[in-house]
Symmetry: C2
Subunit: 417 residues, 2 copies
């Protein structure tokens, strides 16, 4: 007998029929001899409908009242799911965030969980009941209702799994698991059987729709075994856990990319201490996130440097830089907006030098020039022209042995370098 | 400065426009220098929609989960109203039943309030905020969410008014107040300026749609001054309070009627001790409510008696009586289903003998025969043929000086006897 936390997102409980499917799925798990705690999101469009309604009354509603409003979405879906499970002849009991013992900081709209006292959840489990918990919500010490913000229900599931020492936290969604890259770009993208927490975090911009980075961090910190799988079929899904038992020989697990990249270059900057701090301090003050930063060597007391930001921020960034020209004199500032960032991600690359060199080789053979490079322990990123994205991702996917058919024929991941 | 509890029902907050009208109304009250606590029901059809959704998943859902589901309705309307009031530049804060301190017995679907600890409500009032409280709901000692059942939001308002020692509890609805009779039957029905708790209770089947009897009892018990008025205009409404200051000279305040009456007569029953207890015990066991009971004198050791029940219960009642024939022998049982009960209600009749006699006179002048009579301190009821209902109600309404035009011309209620 294992203890499962099963999280179902809004699309999995989007209508009555889907709700019944989830109920059957949970009952099947109990039939296999397991204990089940289910975390649910609001049904389908409920959250958006509530937001629309609020906007009609107040364009800028107080966050406290928005939390009061939004938390009804999960309360509706959890009670309906409980009824649907009762209809299958099983005992089920639903709890709001505060009833399940979620205590959060006193912030509305994006509260962090302070601690969880799952007394009632544990008691109901002992009584043989299926427990259903509202995702995304908690309560402050003062009894105020809060929400956890984006990815909240994933975080609820992971945090609850840690608190009740569940054996597995299953995240049910509308895809089969985590893929080696976006299947819309690479047709033979491969579903991964396993992936490490760190890799999952680096693949975030591919996987964010499936599993929120915050939940992954929480899982890593509390060593919660995650399984990402489909609520529409019985395929095995992707296990997210510590890297110890990663797939043999797989140096690169996936190819991530970000289509929304602009580069700003500041040329001929007088080199003196604090110049970088001044530039990036000014950008941070405006809330502009900077990703990759590259500085050239100093020549004749002048340096060039470049950085990447989200495309839609480029005009604002240029204004900020013009605004500090008197303090930080430079010769010229330029911007390029049609760029993308392609990354190879893999826990195995720590112990495999030459992975970056192979990546550059693959890209150059596509006749594509690399504009910027950035590396971390388990990731190498290259910034290239946006028009080259699909060809480069496909070539890297093939080069690192991630294509499905290739896997099937050679029996295991192959890495060429 | 007075402290007001203002209760708005589902139709008063049925859509965005009405919600805004309620917000303005509350702000106007604050502008007059008063403190305001608002109790809201779920918006328009929300409750029915939720019930419909639940029925699709479970024809007979567990009451606990129904309470979990239903209480979201008020939580949505209270938070939207808070946003709408904020939009008018005022501070408002909404509380669920449990946050407002409503503790109930551990029964789902129709819990009674055990006590109220309105600590947060009082604190928010002290801070100058408008407080909004979800009607119809509370929490048990064990932290389970409960609902108060039919008329729940009225009861919430009255109980809260008692707990915070409000000066007035205003019940906003879609009619101008309590009428002397149903305006659909008598065109010149008169809106009452004042009425006593007891009269209101006796008029319940006219006024139930406006004010639930349970809330009236609670108000009487705690001496809460009620005002029933329209949320769509500024007319003064009807004050419900102790009878001390009832309208001068008004012996009869209103004409109530019940269209749903059947009479069962059991003829030739052997008279012995306990026979009535046996008959009505058997009916009670089947959950059949009996209203008026009339027993004739005993002749030759045999008695006849009759009683009234709701029309749709008559077939079941006949079966019950046939079922006890061996224990309680009788000659014959008959039933009449097309009857109605007409009642005159008035606190003044205690000190005015002859009111009943006048009623019989008015009815006989309509050529209508009276089948049964029942009296209480402030009410006289006659059971008559259903086809005579409208004529009799109109005649009584006129006879007791309740018609509007008559009032206008003679300057005050007149009672002829």
């Amino acid at each position: 007998m294992s203890l499962y936390v099963m999280k179902f997102g809004g699309s999995s409980v989007g209508d009555t029929e889907r709700m019944q499917r989830v109920a059957r799925r949970v009952v099947e798990k109990q039939d296999e001899g397991h204990q089940c705690v289910v975390v649910v999101s609001a049904m389908g469009d409920t959250t958006d409908d509530l937001i629309d309604q609020s906007k009609l009354l107040n364009e800028n509603p107080p966050a406290r009242e928005m939390d009061m409003l939004m938390t009804t979405g999960e309360q509706i879906s959890m009670s309906l799911l409980a009824m649907s499970i009762h209809n299958l002849g099983r005992e089920a009991v639903s709890y709001t965030g505060w009833q399940a013992g979620f205590r959060t900081e006193a912030v509305h709209g994006k509260a962090r969980i302070n601690d969880i006292s799952p007394i009632r959840v544990n008691k109901a489990l002992e009584e043989g009941k299926i427990v259903i918990v509202a995702g995304f919500q908690g309560m402050t010490e003062e009894g105020e209702i809060t929400t956890l913000g984006r990815g909240g229900s994933d975080t609820t599931a992971v945090a609850l799994a840690a608190a009740i020492q569940a054996d597995v936290c299953e995240i049910y969604t509308d895809v089969d698991g985590i893929y080696s890259t976006d299947p819309r770009v690479v047709k033979c993208a491969r579903k991964l059987n396993e992936i490490s927490y760190d890799e999952m975090l680096e693949l975030a911009n591919l996987g964010a729709a499936v599993l929120h980075p915050r939940a992954v961090e929480y899982a890593k910190h509390n060593n919660v075994k995650l399984v990402v799988r489909s609520s529409f079929n019985y395929n095995e899904g992707t296990v997210v856990k510590e890297e110890a038992s990663m797939e043999q020989g797989a140096v690169v697990s996936g190819i991530a990319f970000d289509k929304n990249v602009a580069r700003i270059s500041i040329l001929g900057v007088s080199d003196y201490p604090g110049v970088l701090a001044r530039v990036f301090g000014a950008l941070a003050q405006e809330g502009i996130d900077v990703d990759i930063i590259v500085q050239s060597g100093v020549q004749n007391g002048e340096a060039d440097f470049s950085f990447t930001i989200a495309r839609h921020e480029s005009q604002r960034a240029l204004s900020v830089i013009e605004g500090i020209r008197t303090e930080v004199p430079f010769r010229e500032v330029t911007s390029e907006v049609n760029l993308v960032k392609v990354s190879i991600v893999g826990a195995g690359m720590v112990s495999h030098p030459g992975v970056a060199a192979q990546m550059f080789d693959v890209i150059s053979k596509q006749d594509v020039s690399i504009k910027m490079v950035s590396t971390s322990e388990i990731k190498v990123s290259c910034v290239i022209e946006g028009s080259n994205l699909e060809g480069v991702v496909q070539a890297l996917h093939t080069a690192y042995g991630l294509d499905t058919n290739q896997q099937a024929s050679v029996g295991g991941p192959q890495v060429r370098r």
